[in-house]
Symmetry: C2
Subunit: 146 residues, 2 copies
Amino acid sequence: MSEVQLRDALDSLKGTGVRITPQRHAILEYLVDAMSHPTADEIYKALEGKFPNMSVATVYNNLRVFREVGLVKELTYGDASSRFDFVTTDHYHAICEDCGKIVDFHYPGLDEVEHLASHVTGFKVNNHRMEVYGTCKECEAKAGAH
Amino acid sequence: MSEVQLRDALDSLKGTGVRITPQRHAILEYLVDAMSHPTADEIYKALEGKFPNMSVATVYNNLRVFREVGLVKELTYGDASSRFDFVTTDHYHAICEDCGKIVDFHYPGLDEVEHLASHVTGFKVNNHRMEVYGTCKECEAKAGAH
DNA sequence: ACACTATTTATAAACATTATAAAGTAAGAC
DNA sequence: GTCTTACTTTATAATGTTTATAAATAGTGT
């Protein structure tokens, strides 16, 4: 099932003119299969077997490339190192208070809210709800035209 | 108006047995007055005038103390250094799906969601709504007692 | 297969943050 | 007010993550 995600990711990379190297393939594969949110170092160590000569810089470089293309999100918790998450299709909504238009947007970091809420309140947290309210670009332009 | 917040914070510190040093006073004062979310280094540089001999470690040490007491929240965006935010009374809700109980909790980081949503969607964002759903400790215990 | 350019590697550097030990100081007891 | 004690500050070094650099390597289209 994750094979499809991996293939889509590779196609997506090709489409933006990014070369597909064995290292990139392996890092992506690891991210797709990982159930956790690995750090750069964890990825590096996990791939040491396959690529004994791979440099840490390669991991960082490629994580940045993936992030810029939108395949991967960087999560910064309180601790020392960033964590990296393969982007799934979860999304939130931005709602225009003028015309009611709804626009999707992504924000992977909200998992952390669940963790903190659970920690602070003692709840077993199942899910959350989040919406952003404001004025869309068109309505904003209309309002400013007076 | 922020004088009250500062005094409350100092009282809160005294209450937990933390000594009030001139450096701590100054850091707290800066945080209360700051409209931004300063980094440790910004605080350090801002207080260089008043405390030419203050060590960077002092800033970090005290920010940790304030965080442990709950006066200050540490915000980690994508960039290198953490930002620190004096805790106000904003809060969110955790809602029990069993008994309907509502528990308050804090999470200052959601401002960042507004920024990102605005950036991605082009909205002028005014506010947001967020709730966490799950099972409270009591209902969880009841369910587990079978 | 070739050529061109992106990428990897190895290394060093930059940066934020923490640990350490000695000197200094707040806060309560007398 | 002074003393005493334990907590703080300071200065410095160390740690750990991330980025910069330059030479070597390897994808990709022709």
